[in-house]
């Protein structure tokens, strides 16, 4: 049948391309010719001819459309847009208080989210600038001992070289030392500087911009030193001038500047100089021992000609037996060490290890604040939605008229979302100004260098995206709701909101307050935990404790130093130790006692100390401290309670103990004291007397209230005995605070955010209450006429909102409890989450909400019924 007709596609094509006013005649003519052709030459020819003729009509005259008689005007024409904007502006200007609440709420929310977003962006940019980033890995150890597994970044000093020799997958490998502090002297200039030692491949692996010198050979010679531009500028005036110059370190050895590099700000580890590895190993011979795991090892995987990087998992499997092969007695002593790899770029955000495996880290804070940013923005959006829908009565007539005149639903939705976008853009401007003002404070709090990156496209995309998203979310519900109104009913004046709309609005309020409650409870718990840390008895007294490094001549003149110092004002006692009371120095497994299970290895934190150790730290001791009266004390040991329990002697004092192969006796047991942060449990500790102060920290206890005199005494003596080194010291208190820096920052930020969240929520509540009071003016008037008292009316108006807030408390409490107990799991010593925290947070929320509402409800209740009822 179809074969007797012209080709369908040709007909359709003609219909599409041909101008409508010509279509009928052209199609008719073509059809007529088709019929004749079909009769004369057969259908196939006719069909072909038809198609050919259709195509021949691709001429300008046939394509050109005739202007219609009634052109349809687009709703996006300039006139309409002007009208939309005018109406939007009139609405903003007419309801100044509501608009202010909306804009202020949104601006605060956006400012807060923007700050957090900038911070998150900055966190992700840390260490991301290395060209070889994806191929860089940290080699770490997983140590199996005493039934435990622990991950540690410490590796033997010779590991890097060995790895590079054994595994062809590794292109470069370099060790990295701990942070060292050396005194630099160039001419008259004398200063303490912090830096590291690293393997020769260091600058080939890490893309630190080299300003002068060559990166490849910078660390080849043992007396080479690469310094940062900051140091070059300070000591020599410019990077070029620094090249080839020599620097004297610790008044002993000279080093030649081989390269000057620039240390980017977004680096997780910063160092002002890099010394060569050969030099470092020479100064620390003990690091050659494969049993000492104290240094970091970094590798770069090889990339083959096709750009495929070696598989880190397979390399990891191959590396597993390496440590065992270098430590023959490891298996004998019942422990094992396996090497594993962590991508270098992950190391900053994923730094925590639990039972030997990766478990969170900074990324948790990034996620946490990301969620907070979304929450706060959401709370601000909800304000907007609530106020807009509540006030929709006022706009209902406009919607009705627009609909009658022919506006489609889509256009109304567009209009209302557009209005939301206008408001959001206004808020964004305010938010940007706010963030600009707050950035310096925020930077000093978080120790960052965040700036607006106006030149960066992603910054603008973020801003635009945020504005659009906020506008869309905030405008969505009001737009959908208002555009759905029935024009007939609206214009008759009878609008009634369904229970659906009211429930939705109430749901939003509950949601808002639940989020605020979460933040309040979180803040309280974080603060309590920080307070717990600050006030917890650590087992030693950290007030009035000062640390000095025993460097230069101070170590050799320690005896004189101590003797003189004790005679000077402000000083109580002096001792020295490995590490400090706030930071452990290192651990050893080489402790033997009678009855020890030969198959287990117990790690002891150790410290070599001076006389007066317990007296200076003010640690309680059972038995006695080291004393000059006992010549045998050179092989006497002090242990802590945890160590005593682990060893298992019933009466430990006087019992034999062997440390590093030297048999001796336990002379005293000190009470457990916290030498690390409270994240970690107290570990077994052992102290032994040391004859020399070399490499130790000198610990000075001042007379109470005489810190100033003590510092003056210290400085005078330092200048006499150790003139080549600048005087520097640390307060134990500050060192201790430093341990909890991130918690303190988080606590402060959480506090601000919680305040903001509740403030924005209350702004919304204030608006809603004002609206409700306005709606019920007549009802209140009638009630008053009939004899209702002011308190009863206030109660009536308040109870609706209070119910919602109470519901929010009920919902958020278990959530907050769950979240906060997860957070507390990170601490070995922590507070209990008690019921009163919830009660306080709840009371706070109710109180603030009540205060917010009562202003409006009291105002409404006090109104003279005559004025409110007269209008009708």
């Amino acid at each position: 049948m179809s074969a007797k007709l012209p080709p369908r596609w040709a007909e359709r094509f003609l219909k599409i391309v041909c101008a409508p006013h010509l279509f009928e005649e052209i199609q008719g003519d073509l059809y007529e010719r088709f019929l004749r052709n079909a009769r004369l030459f057969g259908i196939p020819y006719a069909r072909r001819q038809y198609a050919r003729e259709v195509l021949s009509f691709l001429r300008p005259f046939a394509l050109k459309r005739q202007p219609g008689e009634h052109p349809s005007i687009s709703l996006l024409n300039p006139g309409m847009i002007r009208n939309y904007l005018k109406i939007a502006w009139r609405n903003i200007a007419h309801n100044k208080s509501f608009s202010a609440i909306n804009i202020l709420g949104l601006a605060l929310g956006m400012a807060c989210s923007l700050l957090i977003l900038l911070w998150i962006q900055d966190e992700f940019s840390v260490d991301a600038y290395h060209a070889n980033g994806p191929q860089l890995y940290n080699v770490m150890e997983r140590q199996f001992y005493d039934g435990k597994v622990e991950a540690s970044p410490g590796t033997p000093g010779l590991l890097a070289e060995e790895l590079k020799k054994q595994f062809p997958e590794i292109e470069y490998a370099a060790g990295l030392s701990w942070e060292q502090e050396h005194t630099f002297s160039v001419g008259e200039k004398l200063n303490k500087e912090k830096g590291r030692s690293a393997g020769a491949d260091w600058f080939k692996m890490y893309s630190l911009p080299v300003v002068a010198g060559t990166a490849e050979t910078a660390l080849n010679g043992p007396a080479n030193i690469a310094i940062s531009r900051k140091l070059a500028d300070h000591y020599f005036g410019s990077p070029q001038a620094a090249l080839g110059q020599s620097i004297r370190l610790d008044n002993k050895d000279d080093y030649q500047v081989s390269a000057v590099y620039y240390m980017p700000q977004n680096s997780s580890e910063t160092y002002d100089y890099v010394l060569s590895w050969a030099d470092f190993i020479k100064r620390n011979e003990w690091l050659k021992d494969w049993g000492n795991n104290a240094l970091q090892t970094r590798i770069q995987l090889r990339t083959d000609r096709n750009g495929v990087t070696a598989d880190p998992d397979r390399l990891e499997a191959k590396m597993k037996p390496l440590m065992k092969s270098h430590n023959p007695n490891m298996a004998k002593n019942g422990y094992d060490i396996q090497l594993f790899l962590q991508p270098y770029q992950d190391a900053y955000l994923y730094s925590n290890f639990k039972n030997g495996y990766q478990d969170g880290g900074r990324i948790e804070y990034v996620r946490l604040f990301g969620i907070v940013a979304v929450f706060i923005l959401l709370i601000a959006c909800i304000n907007f939605m609530n106020l807009a829908t509540a006030r929709s009565v006022k706009r209902a007539r406009e919607v009705g008229v627009r609909k009658v005149v022919g506006a489609g639903r889509n256009w109304l939705i567009g209009q209302f979302i557009g209005e939301a976008l206008v408001l959001t853009s206004l808020s964004l401007l305010i938010a940007l100004a706010l963030v600009g003002l707050l950035l310096p404070i925020f930077n000093s709090l978080t120790e960052k260098h965040i700036t607006f990156q106006f030149a960066n496209a992603s910054f603008w995309i973020t801003l635009l995206g945020m504005t659009f998203l906020t506008g869309l979310i905030a405008g969505s519900y009001p737009a959908l709701f208002l555009s759905s109104l029935n024009p007939i009913r609206v214009l008759k004046g009878a609008i009634r909101f369904g229970t659906g709309a009211r429930l939705f609005r109430q749901g939003l309020v509950v949601f808002q307050f639940a989020l605020s409650m979460l933040l309040i409870i979180g803040t309280i718990v974080v603060y309590r935990q920080i307070d717990f840390i600050q006030t917890k008895n650590l087992g030693y007294d950290r007030e009035g404790l000062i640390y000095l490094a025993a460097e230069g001549d101070l170590a050799s003149h320690y005896a004189t130093f101590k003797q003189e110092l004790l005679r000077m004002p402000g000083i109580q006692t002096v001792t020295f130790m490995n590490g400090t009371p706030t930071n452990t120095f290192g651990s050893t497994g080489n402790v033997q006692w009678t009855g020890k299970d030969p198959n287990t290895s117990v790690q002891f934190q150790f410290s070599q100390v001076d006389y007066d150790f317990t007296k200076t730290l003010k640690v309680k001791v059972t038995g006695r401290d080291f004393s000059r009266d006992f010549s045998t004390d050179s092989v006497g040991y002090l242990i802590n309670e945890t160590a005593a329990r682990r060893i298992g002697y019933r009466e430990p004092i006087g019992k034999p103990l062997t440390l590093w192969g030297k048999p001796g006796l336990i002379i005293g047991v000190v009470d457990d004291f916290h030498q690390n942060s409270l994240h970690q449990a107290i570990e077994p500790f052992i102290a032994k007397l040391s004859p020399t102060a070399e490499g130790k920290s000198i610990i000075v206890r001042t007379q109470p209230g005489q810190t100033k005199q003590a510092l003056a005494s210290l400085e005078t003596l330092w200048r006499q005995l150790n003139p080549k080194f600048p005087f520097s010291y640390k307060f134990a208190d500050e060192a201790f605070q430093r341990l909890y820096h991130s918690e303190t920052v988080v606590g402060t930020l959480a506090n601000y955010f919680a305040f903001l969240a509740i403030f924005i929520s209350c702004l919304g509540l204030f608006g809603l209450a004002a609206f409700m009071a306005e709606q019920r003016t007549k009802e209140i008037g009638v009630r008053k006429v009939l004899g209702a008292s002011v308190p009863s009316i206030v109660a009536l108006l308040s109870q609706d909102f209070l119910k919602l807030v109470l519901l929010a408390i009920l919902i958020s409490s278990p959530l907050a409890w769950y979240a906060m107990s997860r957070w507390l799991q990170d601490y070995a010593y922590k507070i209990d989450i008690e019921w009163w925290i919830f009660a306080v947070a709840g009371l706070l929320a109710v109180g603030i909400a009540l205060l917010t509402i009562s202003f409006q409800s009291i105002k409404a209740a006090l109104m003279n019924p005559v004025t409110s009822l007269r209008s009708e």
Binding site: L22, E24, E25, G28, D29, L30, Y31, S56, A62
Partner: protein
């Protein structure tokens, strides 16, 4: 006197419309052209010329009745306007004048 320029094809189409009288529409004009001049012209070219002539005001058109052989579609019927007629006459006058002015030796003889 200023007059609109007519192309050769337009002139032929305009004349054909005059020849066909009341039944001048696309297909008929195409067929008549074919028959009278032996030129195989495409229907779209004819339509284009008709369209142009109408724009110049030399043709006018109206839609006719629906006819069965066109699948119920209407034809557009064309007729020559006064301007069209005038233009044709002018062209003819110019030609006649030119013919009359040719001396007998002016054209080489053509055997008929």
């Amino acid at each position: 006197m200023r007059r609109s320029y007519l192309g050769e094809f337009e002139e032929v189409v305009l004349l054909t419309v005059a020849v066909l009288g009341t039944g001048a529409y696309g297909v008929a004009i195409t067929d008549e052209l074919d028959r009278q001049t032996g030129r195989a012209v495409s229907i779209s070219a004819v339509h284009a010329a008709l369209h142009r002539l109408e724009e110049k005001g030399m043709l006018k058109s109206h839609l006719g009745e629906a006819t069965a052989e066109r699948g119920g579609r209407r034809k557009r019927l064309f007729s020559v306007t006064i301007l069209g007629s005038r233009t044709l006459h002018d062209i003819r006058a110019v030609r006649d004048q030119l013919w009359d002015s040719i001396s007998p030796q002016g054209l080489p003889a053509v055997s008929l």
